[in-house]
Amino acid sequence: MTTVSDTVRAPARRLRVLRRPRATTGFWSWFTTIDHKKIGIMYGTTALTFFVIGGVEALLLRLQLAGPNGTLLTAAQYNELFTMHGTTMIFLMGMPLAVAFGNYLIPLQIGARDVAFPRLNAFGYWGFLMGGLFIYSSFFIGGSAPNGGWFGYTPLTSTPLGRGFLPGHGADFWAVGIVMLGIASTTSAINFIVTVLQLRAPGMTFMRMPVFTWMMLVTAFLTLFAMPIVTAALIMVYFDRNMGTNFFQPAAGADPLLYQNLFWLFGHPEVYILILPGMGIVSEVLPVFSRKPLFGYPVVVFSGIAIGFIGWGVWAHHMFATGLGPVAISAFALSTMIIAVPTGVKIFNWLATVWRGAVRLKTAMLFALGFIAMFTLGGLSGVLHSVVPADTQQTDTYFVVAHFHYVLFGGLVFGLFSGFYYWFPKLYGRFLDERLGKFNFWTMLLGFNLTFFPMHFVGLLGMPRRTYRYDTGLGWDFLNQLETIGAFVIALSVLAFIVNVMVSRRHGQVSGDDPWDARTLEWTTPSPPPMYNFAEIPQVEARDDFWHHKYTEDETGHAVRLPSGAAVAVEERPAGGDGGGEHGGEEHGDGHGIHMPSPSYFPFVVALGLPILGYAAVFQAVWLVPIGALVLLFGMYAWGIEPQTEP
């Protein structure tokens, strides 16, 4: 049995700044918790809230475009909403939701009791929340929400406020807010990497790691190296706007394309930061619901790593129309085509996983299959973009909007929903309702395609993106109307999901510990897992270790249930599950003697310093700087001298 090690000692005379919080339940415990599972749930809830907000923004945009010359929104409002829709869905929904899954699952999947730095983990969450609230506060103060588009091209965004290109402080909020979110996501990336590299259970070699953990590791490295680049670019934007520098001022001889190069050097890896976790989730779900191992595990892993590497060499395909010259453009066209290869390999391996399996079409599986189908369509329109001359017709039109929604909605969001249905029983010990789930899936598939499929064509018909209105007589009216209807079908679908979560959390069918007859370590723990995850750190002997405790293969390669596992057909398994196999719940210890890190106030305090400094930066309020710095330094100092675990 693991006990706390000797590195944590009780200091003889420690400065008692605040009494150490002890409660692990109740309202206030959420502010001080450092339990990776609680933090994961906090990430998830917050990110889903932002998902709904971003979705409402999308509905408003679609209502405005339901017919020609819409008047629901003013041009200024429309520009704020599409900027915030993009910013929200990428920085406040996509990334943190992936982090939510990673937080909850990585330690469970590798057989660890927590992440490597529990308090840093809490700080990452609070930083993300503060950053999100900070950006959204611009709707109420500062004259305008961000209104320069989610990639905020200079010199539109970087020209000082007084010179008229963009009204309001929106661009300042945007630049400072994303830097803040960057700090938060960098800390969580470091945390994930150290956790995966250091805390794997004995025997959990790299090639035995679940694919989701693998993809989160690649994602964390991409985050680690991409965020500093955009941070630098946004600091330059901030200085241009507020300190009189000339980084992107063409009149001073600067080249605005410097910004685009920096931004997309971050921005394209960012696309993979968003999609790789989704790929990881479906790589978990497909084998479980096909009752077969993932086809070509090493190939799936290495193609994920390859995508992570090649992802750094394709950034200029966002800039094919900027006049880079034919040589550079051809090079980036080729690299873009090359990255399609590992992506295609993944798709084929997923298909081969399903092939000759025993496919249970539960909601989680439906979403995973939907992911393959929709993501493939997004990938194919992506290949069309690598055909540069065609791209010059399609870029910055609704064709591109269709493309990246197929990748990020059809890909990421379908993957995330698959993950919700798959892991929800682990979080709450209850299933999400299957009937509502199927409604959720089919309406989402329908609404999604109704919204985004016509966008391909409206784009080819010449409709540029980011336009708050369009004239009639261009053949766009009907297709736009369809898209708006589709958007509301999606909204209905998400509503069904929210209802499902609310109801099933308390009243759903009880699931037991291993309801899906799954393969990975998280299913060996009770549902929900105790604070310490594993009473005894597992010994890992194989990839899909848990599965091999339940099944063996006969001479023809078919799975055979081991005698210790109940030989009940999965479909007919009684509600409540049997916990499955020798890792069953009864054998868990009571957790006495396992010392877990104690809760702490200071991650929250440090994160509180960020928005104070942020407001100081946006409004150039020098008097706020010492206050913010004081909060930050106090929090960090107290954190530094506070021991990891209260004796």
Partner: protein, 209 residues
């Protein structure tokens, strides 16, 4: 990024399993690994600013140009002092590892003071440049130069605060040889900042064409 400065004593204890299965860690402590990761991330941060500087170097722009205002001998001296602080940092680590707390305090303080001297030199240099008309908003070189070197200065300043808090702990006797890793990690950061300065000094000052 500053959160990494509050690196806590190694937290890998949560996973220590008493089995004799193959080891799965990387053979370094969590905190040290985290610092290396942070520094690799920070490399790209400085890389972006250095790229911006190089990208704009030689573009037509109004004077005064950096070459007109540089005082290479002066900056060489402050650079040398910063480099020396890396030496004292190493001495501080050596001191704590062998339990020589008096020298630990001396070398920690010396490192912080050398760093502060460098910052003092930078402040003087910036003031001098402004007096000669080379400013943040004067031209592209001014923008890229001041923001790059200024952010490096901010890194050094954060390092000084970190060293001083370690020194404070050492004075109170709360930094013992069991905590040598805390000094080592601060040292990693400090050496990184020095190495970045060597790059900046070479690229920005010594090859200014």
């Amino acid at each position: 990024m500053t959160t990494d400065q509050v690196a806590v004593p190694s937290e890998h204890d949560v996973v220590e399993a008493g089995h004799d299965a193959p080891a799965t860690g990387m053979g370094v402590s969590n905190t040290k690994l985290a610092m290396w990761l942070f520094l690799s991330s920070d490399c790209l941060f400085f890389g972006a600013f250095i790229s911006a500087y190089l990208f704009y170097r030689g573009r037509p722009q109004p004077g005064p140009h950096p070459v007109d205002v540089y005082n290479i001998p002066f900056t060489s001296v402050t650079s040398f002092i910063l480099l020396m602080s890396s030496l004292t940092m190493v001495l501080a680590l050596a001191a704590i590892m062998r339990g020589d707390y008096r020298r630990l305090r001396v070398w920690l303080l010396a490192t912080a003071l050398f760093g502060a001297t460098f910052i003092g030199g930078q402040v003087f240099e910036f003031t001098e440049f402004y007096r000669q008309g080379f400013t943040l908003s004067k031209n592209l070189s001014g923008s890229t130069f001041f923001v790059l070197t200024g952010l490096h200065g901010a890194h050094v300043t954060a390092g000084i605060i970190w060293l001083l808090s370690l020194w404070g702990l050492a004075v109170q006797g709360r930094l013992t040889s069991r905590d040598s890793e805390r000094v080592e990690i601060a040292g990693l950061y400090w050496h990184f900042v020095d190495v970045v300065w060597i790059v900046i000094f070479t690229v920005v000052y010594l090859i200014p064409k």
